[in-house]
Amino acid sequence: MLAAAAAGLLLVGIALAFYWVPNAPIEGFRQRIFYIHVPIALTAYACFFWAAWKALRLLWTRDQSYDLESYTAVHIGVIFGILTLVTGSIWARTSWNTWWAWEERQLVLFLVLFLFYSAYFMLRFSVDPGPRRASMSAVYALFGVVLIPVSFLAIRLAEGLIHPVVFDEEVNTRLTASQFLTFIVCFAGMLALAASLYVNELTGKRVDERLRELREALS
């Protein structure tokens, strides 16, 4: 059901983004990356917040089943985070002819978050499975979402003194009706995609766990 919704929304959304919505006045055709880049970025944030919520539930209730949910959410979030960096890099290439732009706050923020959540996996892989690892991962996931606004603020503060904002493109921040509709459809589609990937992966991990237990019970 969820996957069907994701498929439908994304197909419609991408069709809208390519065929229906008109070219942006100043940037032209390349603005259309917006419709895939920003939904992916927002979905990544949603995944990290979801992971933090599950982490909080784990620490609150000590119910170990939340550990797998939090971990899976971080995993999906990182995948979307990598996609954000790649699509953002492509967008930078089309806008400023460079594969990376320290001026792009969102991109830099995602780089910091990518480093942070990659360390999450390092943490998990170097601690033996159990309630201790679950608690530590949960605390770390909570630190992650607190880091998001703090980092963003830091990056804004850093702009003035380290990398002067040279490129001040006239980007129209107000979306027209058609742009907004296209964006919303793509965003909903991405969220649905992330959700279906999440459910998929979670189920897979749960089955893994059960099979392991079953194997132990039978031998």
Binding site: I36, L83, T94, L197, V207, R215
Partner: protein, 63 residues
């Protein structure tokens, strides 16, 4: 295709590629799970044949 069109399409294709890669990884995982469940089923069957005591009939429990 203009340069801009090339890059925009590339961005969308990257996303598609990642999703498809995910799908492929899960296809492998699913076949592995299938294999494991059939192994465990075999194990369970053999155990059942090996134990000579008859299984007590289980009553239907309400609720």
């Amino acid at each position: 295709m203009t340069t801009a069109e090339k890059y925009v399409t590339a961005a969308y294709l990257v996303v598609l590629a990642v999703v498809l890669a995910y799908l492929v990884i899960y296809a492998f995982k699913l076949s592995r799970l299938d294999r494991e469940t059939s192994e465990l089923l075999e194990l369970a069957r053999r155990r059942k044949e090996a134990s000579p005591e008859p299984e007590p009939e289980r009553e239907e429990v309400a609720g």
